[in-house]
Amino acid sequence: MKRRVVLVDDHRLFRAGVRAELGDAVDVVGEAGTVETAVPLIRELDPEVVLLDVHLPDGGGEAVIAGVAQERPAVRFLALSVSDAAEDVIGVIRAGARGYVTKTISGPELAAAIERTAEGDAVFSPRLAGFVLDAFRAGERVHGDSELEELTAREREVLQLIARGYRYKEIAARLHLSVKTIESHVSSVLRKLQLSSRAELTHWAAQRRLI
C-alpha cells in the first residue's frame, strides 16, 4: 500500500520535480501552492503525509499545520525546504512537523523519510540535528531554570551523530543499540522541543549566532 501524500510548495516546477523524483514510491494525491488552498485540500483528502514548504507566499508551513491539526490530527507533516534560517525550521517543527529535510535530498531518501514520517517517527536531517542541538544548548547557557527540558547525554550523542551524517543504522551499530531505540531517542527530542515555551526559543533565535 503506497503512502498517500500531498505536496505543498509555492513553486510548481519544484512540485513537478518532487513528483518525478518520488516516482512510484508514493501516491501523490494532491498539490497546493498556498496556505489558503492547502488547508481545505488537506482536510478533504486526508493524506497520510504532507510534504510542506517552510515558506509560503501567504504564511508559513506553520499556518498550514495550525489550520489542519484540529480537524485531521492523523495527518503528519514533513518540512521540506531550502531555508537556511534555523528559527524558521524550528518554528515548523514546534508547530507539529515530524521532521525536516532539505530540498537537495535524493528521491529514494525522500521516499524513506516519508515512510518514516507516516510511521510516526521523527526525521532529522543533519542540519536539523544541528539546529536542535543549538536550541537546547542555548537554553542551558542562558538560564539555570530553563523551560527547555534538557537533553539526556544519550539524546545529545544521537543528535550529534545525526549531525555528523550518520544514519540511524550506523548510529545504532556504533552505540550498540537497536535502531528502534535510536528512533525513540529522536522522538523524545522532538517531543521536548514541541513542549518547550515560545519565549525560550525566541531568546535562542536572538542569541544563537555567535558564542
Binding site: D84, G130, D134, R137, Q160, G165, R209, L210, I211
Partner: protein, 358 residues
C-alpha cells in the same frame, strides 16, 4: 468639486447663488449666505461678488468670462477699501491681480520655455511700483507681503516643478544603478554558470554541482546568508562550495553554534577543506557530511564520507595531504586532528581546536 450650478427656483432665496455654492462645496447654505452678508458690509463687496457669481453661474461656459472677473476685482477693491487701505494701494493690488491673471491665462507660470505674457508682466510691475511709491503709511505693512505673495504665485509652480523633475531624475538614476548592479551580478554568476552547464551538459554530476554552487551564491546574495569568511560556518560553506564545484560531489553542511574566524580557526577551515577534497578525490562516495560544533571551550569540525575508507598505515610517507595539510596544520594552530577509518568503512576526520579564553 463640480462647478456651482444655480439652485433651482423652488429652493432659492434670491438668484440661487448661495444655495448653488453651498451644494458644490457641500456646506450649509445658511453659512454661505452669512459670508455674503458679512462681505456686503465691507463697502458693498458682498453684493458685487454676488452679482459676479450670478454671472458666472448662469453662463459658466461663456467664451470670455471677463464680466464676472471684473466684478470680482471690483468686489475685492471695495473690501480692501473698507479695510482702510488707500485708493492707491487698492488700485495697485488690482493691477497686480490683473497681471497675474493674464500671466496664468497665457500659459501658466515661469516654467522654462513657457510663454510669458508681456502685458501681464507690465501690469504686475506697474502694480508694485504704484504700491511702493504711492502707498500711504497704513499700506507699508502690506507691501512686502504682496510682493512675496505675487512672486510665490508666479515662481512657485516653476520651483516646485524643478523639484519634482530633480526627484524623478534621482529615482531614475538610482534605479539604473540598481539594474546595472543586478545585471553585473547576473552576468558574473548566473550567466557564467549557464555557459559552463552548456559546455558540460554530458556530465550530470558536474552540472549538478555547478547548479548547487550557483544556488548557494544567489541565495546568499538575495537573502544575506553567510557564505563568507566571517564566521566559521560561513567559511566552511564557502570551502564546501569550492570542493563541490571542483570535484562534483555533494556536501551536506550542518552546524551547531558559530563564532567569528580568527587565524587559528582559519587553519581549521583549511584543514577541513583538505579533508573534504580528500574525501571527494579518494573515497569514491559522492556524498560528504560536514558538521561544525562550537561551544565555549572548543570548536570541532567533523568531515565524514561513506566511501571506501583506507588503511592509515598504508599511506605512503611522501603523500603529504593528511600529514601536512591536516595534522600538521591543526598542530600548528594549537589543535588536533583525529582520523577514523578502515577499508570499506568510510572515513571521518575530526578537527578540534580549543578556544582561546577558555
Amino acid at each position: 468639486m463640480a462647478f456651482p450650478q444655480l439652485t433651482p427656483p423652488d429652493r432659492r432665496v434670491a438668484a440661487g447663488v448661495c444655495g448653488g455654492i453651498a451644494d458644490a462645496i457641500a456646506v450649509d447654505p445658511t453659512l454661505v449666505r452669512l459670508v455674503f452678508a458679512l462681505l456686503a458690509l465691507a463697502g458693498g463687496a458682498g453684493l458685487v461678488l454676488y452679482v459676479a457669481a450670478w454671472f458666472a453661474m448662469s453662463a459658466p461656459r461663456r467664451e470670455k468670462p471677463w464680466a464676472p472677473l471684473l466684478l470680482v476685482v471690483i468686489a475685492a477693491s471695495l473690501a480692501l477699501g473698507a479695510l482702510g487701505l488707500s485708493g492707491y494701494a487698492v488700485a495697485s493690488l488690482a493691477l497686480i491681480a490683473g497681471g497675474l491673471t493674464l500671466i496664468w491665462r497665457r500659459g501658466g507660470s515661469l516654467r522654462p520655455g513657457a510663454p510669458l505674457s508681456a502685458a501681464g508682466v507690465v501690469l504686475v510691475a506697474g502694480g508694485f511700483v504704484l504700491l511702493l511709491a504711492r502707498g500711504g503709511p497704513a499700506d507699508s505693512f502690506l507691501a512686502p507681503g504682496a510682493v512675496g505673495g505675487a512672486l510665490l504665485l508666479v515662481a512657485g509652480p516653476w520651483l516646485w516643478q524643478l523639484g519634482v523633475e530633480r526627484d524623478a531624475e534621482r529615482t531614475a538614476r538610482i534605479r539604473t544603478e540598481e539594474r546595472a548592479e543586478v545585471a553585473a551580478r547576473v552576468h558574473d554568476s548566473v550567466l557564467q554558470t549557464l555557459a559552463l552547464i552548456q559546455r558540460h551538459a554530458e556530465e550530470p554530476r558536474r552540472v549538478a554541482s555547478l547548479a548547487r554552487r550557483q544556488e548557494r551564491e544567489l541565495r546568499g546574495w538575495l537573502y544575506g546568508a553567510t557564505i563568507d569568511g566571517e564566521t566559521l560556518t560561513g567559511a566552511l560553506a564557502a570551502a564546501a562550495a569550492d570542493v563541490e564545484e571542483l570535484h562534483g560531489v555533494r556536501i551536506e553542511l550542518a552546524s551547531s553554534g558559530d563564532c567569528t574566524v580568527d587565524d587559528a580557526l582559519r587553519q581549521v577551515v583549511l584543514a577541513a577543506r583538505e579533508a573534504m577534497a580528500n574525501a571527494a578525490k579518494f573515497a569514491g562516495s559522492d556524498e560528504i557530511a560536514v558538521y561544525a560544533e562550537v561551544d565555549v571551550s572548543r570548536a570541532t569540525v567533523f568531515v565524514r564520507d561513506r566511501g571506501d575508507g583506507f588503511d592509515p598505515e598504508s599511506v605512503p610517507a611522501d603523500r603529504r595531504g593528511i600529514e601536512e595539510s591536516i595534522r600538521g596544520r591543526m598542530a600548528r594552530a594549537g589543535g588536533s586532528a583525529a582520523i577514523v577509518t578502515a577499508p570499506g568503512d568510510g572515513t571521518e576526520v575530526e578537527l578540534t581546536l580549543p578556544r582561546a579564553g577558555s
